[in-house]
Amino acid sequence: MHLPHSTLKQEFVKKWIMGLQRCKFSNKNMSIFERKKAIKLSADTAMASARKGLTCWSRALISTPDRSAVPTTTRRASLACKKIVKRSRRIRRTAKCGAARKRQITRSIAQCLVWKRTQILKSLIPGGEFMNEVCLIEETLDYITSLRVQVDVMRSLASASVRASEPHN
């Protein structure tokens, strides 16, 4: 499943150019905002399709390209986390605070943090809500690699465009 950086980059560039050509930038009536949306959408689609359906996040991204449409679970996460912390405080108040109790409380707060941050991570990865923890970790690594390729290529195109727009002396 893991592709070398250069192969992934080539796939992304190929697919992105195809997508950009369809955007019809020669149409001068496009607003900057519309153009930005088109660039972003084509970049995300290219990034996802470069994985050729091998990862969950790429399939999820292609089926819901508008990231803002993906619901986040952070509100539920913070409510559940508050319950766990309240429970730990109650234990601390009612029980005698020996060393074992203190360890238990620390542990439950740590578990709460892990759980809460796992939920946040799930909301950041496309399709993350439906993944179990093992899948989430693998998908996260692949997603980060693909995002770095995307940023790399976009930066190169931006600097090439800057050079191309410079007046010749």
């Binding site: 690594l141 995002l147 940023v151 976009m154 800057v162 191309a164």
Partner: protein, 92 residues
Amino acid sequence: MSSRRSRQSAAGVSRISDDQIIELVSKLRQLLPEIRDRRSDKVSASKVLQETCNYIRSLHREVDDLSERLSQLLATIDADSAEAAIIRSLIM
């Protein structure tokens, strides 16, 4: 300890196990400079998750900024240089 774990899974709240976190840390170490520079092998699970989330959010922001920049640059790519011609022929 086993009763706590079974209580957790009964409630539907599962947590990432230590082995999986160790695997994640070793791979993320190459990707995240904050964790790579840290000498100790013991990085807490919640810290790794937090750094990962922050990194992904910063990458998303960068893609957004680059899209905006590209949208302005490509709008004005009318120049007569060879590079402009190449870019125009590639994507327009």
